[in-house]
């Protein structure tokens, strides 16, 4: 079981090798960092940055995250059913219809409540 994941580790090794080569290459080929107070200021269109950068973010993003948790996780629950429902027959189809119905009702509810509106 674990053995079938060995190739993934090899691919990761190739990726790390690549990153190492790049980082080393950059160290040897790149110029040494210039000293200067302004050199490493964060880029903000040439103006001095003002105000906090890690501000609290709009609640819409959290709403999107919740929507993702609700719908994506539920959709993933459909996968085991998707490959097995042939053997369940009619009962499996009807049961899953109920499950999907709940999902759709949830989507319609979010829609009506305006949770899908990105703009305030």
């Amino acid at each position: 079981m674990i053995a079938s994941y060995i190739p993934m580790f090899l691919i990761i090794a190739v990726g790390i090798l690549l990153a190492t080569v790049f980082f080393l290459g950059s160290t040897f080929l790149g110029p040494k960092q210039a000293k200067g107070a302004e050199h490493n200021t964060p880029y903000e269109s040439g103006s001095e940055s003002s105000g906090g950068r890690h501000v609290r973010l709009s609640v819409k993003f959290y709403l999107t995250a919740i929507l993702f948790v609700v719908f994506d996780i539920e959709a993933v629950f459909l996968y085991p059913w998707g490959i097995k429902f042939r053997s369940f027959g009619w009962l499996g189809l009807v049961e899953m219809l109920g499950f999907l119905g709940v999902l759709v009702i949830g989507l319609v509810y979010c829609w009506k409540k305006g949770a899908l509106e990105w703009e305030t």
């Binding site: 269109s45 040439g46 105000g51 501000v55 709009s58 993003f61 305006g114 703009e119 305030t120």
Partner: protein
């Protein structure tokens, strides 16, 4: 979701025509807002324009434009140089439509000095102005889609194609003046260069090529679903506010105000070559795009009509100027406004003074500056993406804004 308090304040400020900068103080900008400096070193601020955006999430709550990064003291320079030396100086103001800069300046000087322009020169100026309008609008279309689609996307495809067509017009100008961009072809009393042989045929060919390709560009922009979605209802500027802010040109006409100096106060040969003024409706980015598209078609038509009817005669009615000191003014003040691709470019000159060979004071009224003044009113409530689209749709040229 209901409108936040910030938006309500701004909406009422806009309705009441109050300066949004003042009314914004009713809530704390430190609280949950991000102050984003947008420019001067930004890919889509059309040069060195800067606006400070207060963002609530991605919604702009307050926008403060800053200009002046490209100030070159052109007006002061105009007080020091003589009248005939000034044409190439103002060429650099609106660096997308240099022809119209020259025309505005020289028309003001002609009025001040009481010089009559011969008919042929006036026709020539009309043709040059309209060709320049097409070139300028083409560049606007390219950069606008660049703002909407990015330099690494469909925007750059249209951008490069628009540049290809603009090249054709620049080639014509090169034929005429020898210069591709800063022409110095207008002088007091007329033009410096007469039409070269075969120019009319070339112009007609170029007009035909561009007219044939405009539908293709409309398909890539105006008729494209994403373009529609990005521009319809975005940055709505109503006509009253536009008039109050002194906005002119396509931006004003897109807001439904029927105003065009070419028809309302004809100069050049516009009294003989009437212009069908394009008026849009809606005042959003899409209306501004549609107006500019229609203006391109109208200008091409005008050029095609005018190029065959150019009257014979001299191209300069003034005494041949050999020395900078030959044009002298004893005093008086004049204002001349012409319709450039961006709106009313005004030149106000006071003659006389200690040195009669140079203006006592020269003031340029750049149309882009007035267009930009709409930003604090129309940006709030829009997203950052829209802010870029709106700025692009106003077609500001920082060279003339900052002078």
């Amino acid at each position: 979701m209901e409108m936040s308090e910030a938006h309500a304040v701004l909406a009422s400020a806009r309705r009441a025509r109050v300066d949004p900068h003042l009314s914004i103080k009713t809530y704390d900008p430190e609280a949950d807002m991000m102050l984003l400096h947008f420019g001067p070193q930004h890919p889509s601020t059309h040069g060195v324009f800067r606006m400070d955006l207060h963002l609530d999430g991605e919604i702009v709550v307050k926008a403060t434009p800053y200009v002046g990064y490209l100030h070159r003291a052109v007006e002061k320079l105009c007080e020091k140089l003589s009248y005939v030396m000034l044409t190439p100086i103002v060429d650099k103001n609106d660096y997308v439509a240099p022809m119209t800069n020259e025309q505005a300046l020289n028309m003001a000087f002609e009025k001040l000095l009481g010089v009559e322009v011969p008919r042929r020169a006036r026709w020539l100026r009309t043709i040059l102005a309209e060709l320049q309008r097409v070139a300028s609008h083409l560049l606007w279309l390219g950069t606008f889609t660049l703002d909407l689609g990015g330099a690494l996307g469909g925007g750059s495809t249209l951008f490069l194609h628009c540049f290809r067509e603009r090249e054709l017009i620049l080639d014509l100008f090169e034929d005429l003046t020898g210069a591709r961009f800063h022409y110095n072809t207008h002088t007091i009393g007329g033009n410096r260069h007469d039409l070269p042989a075969g120019f009319a045929a070339k112009v007609k060919q170029v007009v035909a090529v561009i007219e044939a390709r405009l539908p293709e560009y409309a398909a890539l922009s105006l008729d494209n679903g994403i373009f529609k979605a990005r521009t319809t209802g975005v940055g709505v500027l109503d006509g009253d506010l536009a008039l109050e802010l002194g906005i002119t040109g396509p931006v004003l006409r897109a807001s439904g105000v029927d105003h065009d100096l070419r028809r309302d106060a004809p100069y050049h040969a516009y009294d003989e070559l009437p212009v069908n003024v394009v008026v849009g409706h809606g005042g959003d980015c899409r209306a501004r795009a549609e107006v500019r598209f229609a203006e391109m078609r109208e200008s091409l038509r005008l050029v095609r009509d005018a190029i065959d009817g150019v009257p014979e005669g001299p191209i300069n009615g003034y005494k041949p100027i050999r020395q900078p000191t030959m044009a002298k003014s004893t005093g008086g003040q004049v204002y001349v406004g012409i319709e450039t691709p961006r709106g009313e470019l005004g030149t106000f000159v006071i003659g006389g003074g200690d040195t009669p060979t140079s203006p006592y004071r020269l003031k340029i009224r750049p149309p882009s500056l007035h267009s930009l003044s709409a930003l604090p009113y129309i940006l709030p409530g829009q997203t950052v993406s829209d802010a870029v689209a709106i700025l692009g749709s106003l077609d500001p040229i920082m060279g003339e804004v900052d002078r």
